[in-house]
Amino acid sequence: MKGLIKKSLFFCLILSVCACAARQKNILEANDSQVRLRSIQSRVYDYTDRNRMLRTIIATLQDLGFVIDDADENLGTVSGTKRSGYSLRMTVSVRPRGDTQLIVRSNAQFNLQTVDDPEPYQQFFAALSKALFLEAQKI
């Protein structure tokens, strides 16, 4: 019985140490390699009009059921949250790449977790590409 109590105490101690470490790590999250994260969160578009791109991103987010939380033309960022029993928050930024392209980067947070699975980002960029295509066709 004594042994069991000792062991349980030991495991509790280990768990609390792990929890402390996790809390510290979350401040500057580095779960993944920076390069991998950037590559799954970014897409390059042959598009030069930054304002139009921002407006298309806003429209896409609205189509996906997001409420816009913030937009800044100077910085080139848009943030929005989708609530449907869960909270999915996204920030999308647009910056020029050379004279003929724009890099769109998005990062998402699902409830209290960061999203590092490539699939949701692929879906978002597919939706954005579709919106850009329709925009170009003026549909």
Binding site: G3, L4, K7, S8, F11, L15, N51, L54, R55, I58, A59, Q62, D63, L64, G65, F66, V67, I68, D69, D70, A71, D72, E73, V78, G80, T81, K82, R83, S84, G85, Y86, S87, L88, A108, F110, N111, Q113, V115, D117, E119, P120, Q123, F124, A126, A127, K130, K138
Partner: protein, 178 residues
């Protein structure tokens, strides 16, 4: 043999706990996809105004949002965005009554007490001097234990219809500088 068994119990418990932590839900598949409802939602949430004064339209929109008791949290005219919210007490008298009756039987009765409504309004210039205005509402509701019990989009068509009828009036008033 006996000590081996004792060691296994906490180990199994920890493994189960770790597995549960690892199985936290991820982004639902349909969250970032256009669905069949996307188009219907867009139609419900959008009205088109025949004007080319985006700034004036935003001004009229901000005025309606203020009429409806919203406070403006953010705005970016260059992107045609207004973000606003309001916090309200949503306690109903019958809930208070029921909670008193429930307490007589030592039962906890939780009910909605606070609601936060969030809205974002976006204008988008279209061709031929037309501008589309789209508004989306979401609401969050907390109960007496301060637990979040509702966290979703507002879907009632009447709310959007009422908003746009007010906006049409406001556009008229703004155009006439009233």
């Amino acid at each position: 043999m006996r000590s081996g068994k004792v060691l296994h119990i906490p180990m199994v418990f920890i493994l189960v706990a770790l597995t549960m932590l690892a199985c936290q839900k991820s982004v639902p598949r349909e969250a970032l996809m256009f669905t069949t409802e996307s188009l219907a939602d867009r139609q419900l949430q959008t009205r088109i105004f025949e004007t080319n004064h985006e700034g004036k339209l935003l001004e009229a929109s901000a005025a309606v949002l203020q009429d409806l008791g919203f406070t403006i949290d953010e705005s970016e005219v260059k992107c045609g965005v207004i973000v606003c919210s309001k916090d309200r007490n949503v306690t109903e008298f019958y809930d208070v009554g029921l909670s008193i009756i429930a307490s007589l039987f030592f039962i906890d009765y939780e009910y909605a007490v606070r609601q936060k409504v969030l809205a974002s309004l976006v204008t988008r210039p279209l061709e031929e001097d037309r501008i589309a205005v789209r508004i989306t509402f979401q609401h969050l509701v907390w109960d007496t234990k301060k637990e979040l019990i509702k966290n979703e989009r507002v879907n009632e068509p009447e709310i959007y219809q009422e908003f746009f009828s007010k906006l049409s009036k406001s556009v008229f008033l703004t155009a006439h500088e009233i």
